[in-house]
Symmetry: D2
């Protein structure tokens, strides 16, 4: 046996996926792929996996039933260049390995995040953490950009002057802004990467980190196309309904129409159709007992 | 300020919740409660939490939106006595702290798992990992129990004989069975405990570990009643629907009926009603584009 | 049984330990103490702990032999106010729980790190990451402080102006500097806290994070005085010697002088003296085989 | 750029390293090697690494100074077959990914740990957890082996009978012994693997897990020869001395003899000699203040 690799993935190794004005994501190395998810699952379930006899079906089964450990057997390593305020959100995901460029050891480079015109938004009214869709007038956008870029240049000049005076690097940098770019190597297993992507592709995530998550989604899809498809179908494009929401929904779902034949005609095959019918029958039962509120 | 505690929780400290024939779970200590979830969230969101001005609402909001870090601020410590085969499933949850009784240092005690009559089941036919609901004949049950208990006694006698010959404890124990009881201290934060409970209360979990999960659910509910309620409503009794399932469901949900007034009449209040309507409008949009299968 | 607490520790709950010009550390809550380390160890080792019959001796034994799990049974929760560049070093410790103040939800406050005169240093010459001990002239110090504080005020004014224009908070903040103060709740178990303190009390750690580590050391000592003493003796004030260094050292250690009586006269008691003699006999053996270099 | 691999390591992919009577370790896949440790460190330290201009020196510097994150950039995946009592010690290392053969899904195989004659020992007298070196009489060894193997066959027969009666697999297995073999895939990064090996190669670890640790040490050395050498010199064959031990030792180390020239003649080169002298000067200082006991 040899390393599990795939040509598609090998062809994007080291390729820069541009993000924001000066950042990027690059896939540096990876270990495993769809094949190694299947390999690990077959060790776990032994003969128990015979009935699911093709790889795609097995991977989808694992994803659907939250059997997450086989996905941990794939590892991806990225090189990322990103603004510090994005890095601060990113690093909250603790199940990864990181080596970041250090402003104690080295001189930070003169590169700052400058938003594109379309990324400049008003504060959202309903949403404490978001941006409003309403357009910011071109003239105000221009002014914002000027303030940002002028100040960035000034801050870097002050930084350079402190270094010239031979002030310790670790101190000279303290007034550098959160818009400054940093770099890191970031390594994570596929299960935890999916978790990261789910949270960071979400419309509630800040625009600037979403850009990175989307680039990494492209890369991940290339490394593990089957796992990615399962992730999309059962996680990314799925929806969770609460107890109360289920009570409401279930009233509108006619058991007599929702037969196995009907489901299959709509694309839900064999085992998945059974699982859906089982879910529905639970709903009916619990909603007939459930109170409307509490 | 002082420790965040609650009387109800203090009154069950150290109480034995019996599990299986000779096991138990005891709450040994805990740190924090509903109050400290709120406290941590208010630091995170600062003035941003003003609009959610009561604790219950805030906790439910956090749970609904997967803002999990405030739940990590509560910690529970359990003393558990459990059969080794249950311990082997349990320990797979890596985000906890454990101190287990050691068969290298100490002599294992003469206590084994013996199933109750009703816990003896046939192998499930559809489910590779489960038990069949069909009844096992009383006579066969009796035989199973006899085999198990006789062998357990024999194994313990052999163990004792090896110890009498002064064979090293770490070696003398190797033929002790998975049904032997062990003990441990197990400490975990509330977020990770919820994750553990969600997987182990599930009907697909093995019966014997479910018994422990249910006892711990009781305890958790006492320590953090509001967080528990939110966990039940948005996680435990929620249901996830895949992309394809959503395509099917959305066809049956009449936008004209599902108004905010209707939802409120069914118990979905203010913000939650809005969020539900937003989810529905996404569904409609994506299902009108979505293909039935792929 | 009740919560394991101690009066000394309770008396410092919530007390502000000032750090730098505007930061602090406060102990918000804790679970357990020396007593619960012992309690957990006695479950692990069962009767095996009988021979170590007093708490202090047992705790020291555990620390010396890297039996770290009982130390994980104690948990401490801190409230910390700290500059962002310190927070960025701190967060690299992944085995903790964090809730940080969010600049997306809330307006950042007008507080910045301003070094004391004595904390302004030249770049170290030998050490890539450090500060030089040589004094910075008073006049240069003054200039550094002026640059820092003037710029901080300017940056905050620009931030306020962007907020007044109703630019989204998450965008308005991107030019705020690393010297800005943030706040968080930070919860960690004692074993991992010791690891954090060992790295951050070290003279190679940046001065500004060391100040926090020292405040937390004070607090930790109050919560678990016996564990702290063991940590100091066997970790903080211990020293590791490499294979080659041991080869050199062992040539100078006279076996005939280093008897158990001698060691006891110097304060190394019973078991510890035996362990030391065993270490020495290993050294002698391996150094007589060991080559000088490779 | 392409995957970081090495021929030596590729040549042992999939090779069985036999362990105990029926177990093994196999390297299934790996990501990175010495080269990727260096690559990650150079990102972290930027120009700061220029002074350490060759790979071996840099890797040794990182190991010596506990800069552990670059070692996390290498990942190894093993397939292991091991007795359950060994698996129970092994799984306590939480920073790894595991897929284990499941006795709920599949029928366990008829393979049990049978110790070699030389592995049968008496209980250690001083050491609560160990074996005594004194020989067990051949006749007693024979008897122990007979008891173990006879009982193992009986237990497997009973297991098969329960399966024939169609009792659920998850229940039928509960009397199977800890000596039964299981299998898993186990994936870990190099830093955490070193930590595992340090604890499990140690003479205090149980003999049976040590055998596995030694096989994995061979494999690791092949994947990362330079990192392994540094690990041996600075960790595995290093020794830690406590505060009190240092007080004693330092009295015997003559400053006048221990010059840089002397150290270099003994193989401690440049930077390392300086670091050693710095350690010594600390010792002298603190021991002249230090009390003998407390």
């Amino acid at each position: 046996m040899a390393h599990v690799t795939n040509q598609q993935a090998d062809s994007i190794l080291d390729k820069e996926y541009k993000c924001l004005n000066a950042g990027f994501v690059r896939l540096i190395d990876y270990m495993g792929g769809d094949e190694s998810i299947v390999q690990a699952a077959r060790v776990s379930y032994g003969k128990g996996t015979k009935s699911v006899n093709e790889d795609r079906g097995l991977i989808r089964y694992l994803m659907r039933h939250l059997h997450t450990t086989p996905f941990e057997m794939v590892e991806l390593k990225f090189h990322v260049k990103l603004p510090i305020f994005v890095a601060r959100q990113w690093i909250r995901h603790r199940t990864a390995n990181v080596n970041e460029y250090s402003g104690r050891y080295s001189v930070m480079k003169d590169e700052f995040y400058i938003p594109e015109h379309e990324a400049i938004h008003f504060q959202s009214l309903q949403n404490k953490q978001g941006r409003r869709t309403e357009d910011v007038p071109a003239e105000l956008r221009q002014r914002v950009l000027e303030v940002l870029t002028n100040t960035q240049q000034q801050l870097y000049t002050e930084y350079e002057q402190l270094l010239e005076e031979d002030i310790a690097r670790e101190l000279a940098r303290v007034n550098l802004p959160l818009s400054l770019y940093t770099e890191w190597y970031w390594k994570i297993d596929l299960h935890n990467l999916f978790h990261f992507l789910r949270l960071r592709i979400d419309p509630h995530a800040q625009y600037e980190i979403r850009i990175y998550a989307e680039a990494m989604a492209e890369i991940t899809k290339t490394v593990c196309p089957l796992a990615w498809e399962a992730f999309e179908d059962y996680m990314l494009k799925s929806e969770r309904f609460s107890r109360l929401e289920l009570n409401i929904i279930s009233g509108f779902l006619p058991s007599e129409t929702l037969t196995k034949e009907y489901l299959e005609s709509k694309g839900l095959k064999g085992r998945e159709a059974d699982e859906f019918l089982e879910k529905l029958s639970h709903l009916k039962k619990s909603s007939s007992q459930g109170e409307g509120s509490r």
